[in-house]
Amino acid sequence: MNTRTKDDIAAAIARDIAGEHPDGAYVNLGIGQPTLVADHLPDGSGVVLHTENGMLAMGPAAHGDDIDPDLINAGKIPVTELPGAAYFHQADSFAMMRGGHLDVCVLGAFQVSAGGDLANWHTGAPDAIPAVGGAMDLAIGAKRVWVMMTLFDKQGTPKLVPTCTYPLTGVGCIERVYTDLATFAVGPDGVRVLEVHGIDVDGLVERMAPLELHLDRVVGSGTGR
């Protein structure tokens, strides 16, 4: 089976960001896997990374002597500063996000619904300690919010679902879902399969049931095209 690795998915997102924003995009990459996208941005893409703890033009992770405890990303990982960087406080940083000034935000997810609802902050387990961070602000803030996740959980249950069963992070906020097996557009028109990878469309439809999939625009290895 020829499924995509996290790196493949990150590369696809990076390609789409660069393709849709030829003059450079302002992008926020959520904690965890979405940060991999930064490693795949093409040279000269002009993409500027925002980290919601207060910085634009964030550079790659810092190592060795470059580590400065005052310079971290939203995941509290030491990072670096690129030429043209700017620092700002939390209210200004989230004003920038909430006001819709960032082009793309890429987040991880527990679940995404067909209509674009996002659940990524709480499993709903009664003993879990709730912690939201900036997730709810990011979910509704950027012009376009994309999700990067595996399509199925460890039990084989789809994470793209008719309706989220986990507590929501945001309503109708997700536009696209990048996964190991397929890429989807979600929203008011429902779920449209954009690409498949290492799975054929019939297999995908079967495993995703009862979720209804629009298949009129599928491309990718799974279709043989």
Binding site: L56, G84, Y87, M96, G99, H101
Partner: protein
């Protein structure tokens, strides 16, 4: 999108549609983007709503724009000045609509537009004629008025120096409305004394991060053109 360095003021205001709301920076002449306003006079858009602290001084800049008769309405805190004869005449003859907004509410309504705030409760103007028609609410023993954001289609801002990423710094009290107006408009055009390379501005001292800026006109380049 990353800011574009324009070859002249006309390019920076190109495409302004009739009926646009235009935010014009400056407090008196400090921070007034005179050359951009002059370009808007040449550009010819009509039926404009202008948002600016004052209503023009003398016969140039904003006053010249008003004199064209293409401004339907002005939203400002202090139209009446010793040299505001162009506005005074239009107002007295009923040829321009005026919305007077307390200066702090004007600034906060612009900030709210940029920060994605739907509305806010301000204590300013409670019990005055400017409270007329506004929703009143008591919160924690104090009375407030509900104030709505002011969005612009275009903002014209004067700053001191821009870098090639669009980051801006201002000079002294000429900063005034520039930073909030730059967050509040769909298209932001900025005139600056000069443009420097990315990395030449101190990232700690950037006042307007480049994410807010669309078009930049350096005075030096204009002079050389």
């Amino acid at each position: 999108m990353t800011a574009r360095i324009c070859t002249g003021y006309d390019e920076a205001v190109a495409g302004t549609a009739d009926g646009s709301t235009v935010l014009v920076g400056g407090f008196g002449m400090a921070g007034m983007p005179v050359e951009l306003v002059d370009a808007l006079v040449r550009q010819g858009a009509a039926d404009l709503t202008i948002v600016s602290n004052n209503a023009g001084n003398g016969d140039t800049g904003l006053a010249a724009l008003l004199a064209t008769g293409r401004v339907r309405k002005i939203v400002c805190s202090f139209p009446r000045q010793t040299d505001s004869w162009v506005f005074d005449d239009l107002y007295r003859s009923g040829r321009i609509e005026l919305e007077v907004v307390p200066q702090g509410n004007l600034a906060e309504r612009l900030r709210a537009a940029g920060a994605g705030i739907g509305a806010f409760y301000s204590p300013t103007a409670v019990g005055t004629p400017l409270a007329e028609g506004k929703e009143v609410r008591e919160i924690d023993g104090r009375t407030y008025l509900l104030e709505y954001p002011i969005h612009g289609d275009l903002a014209l801002v004067k700053a001191h120096v821009a870098d090639r990423m669009g980051n801006l710094v201002y000079r002294r009290t000429a900063r005034n409305f520039g930073p909030v107006m730059a967050t509040a408009a769909s298209t932001v055009a900025v005139q600056v004394d000069r443009v420097v390379d990315a990395g030449a501005l101190d990232p700690e001292a950037v006042i307007t991060p480049g994410v807010y800026v669309d078009r930049i006109v350096p005075a030096a380049q204009e002079a050389a053109a």
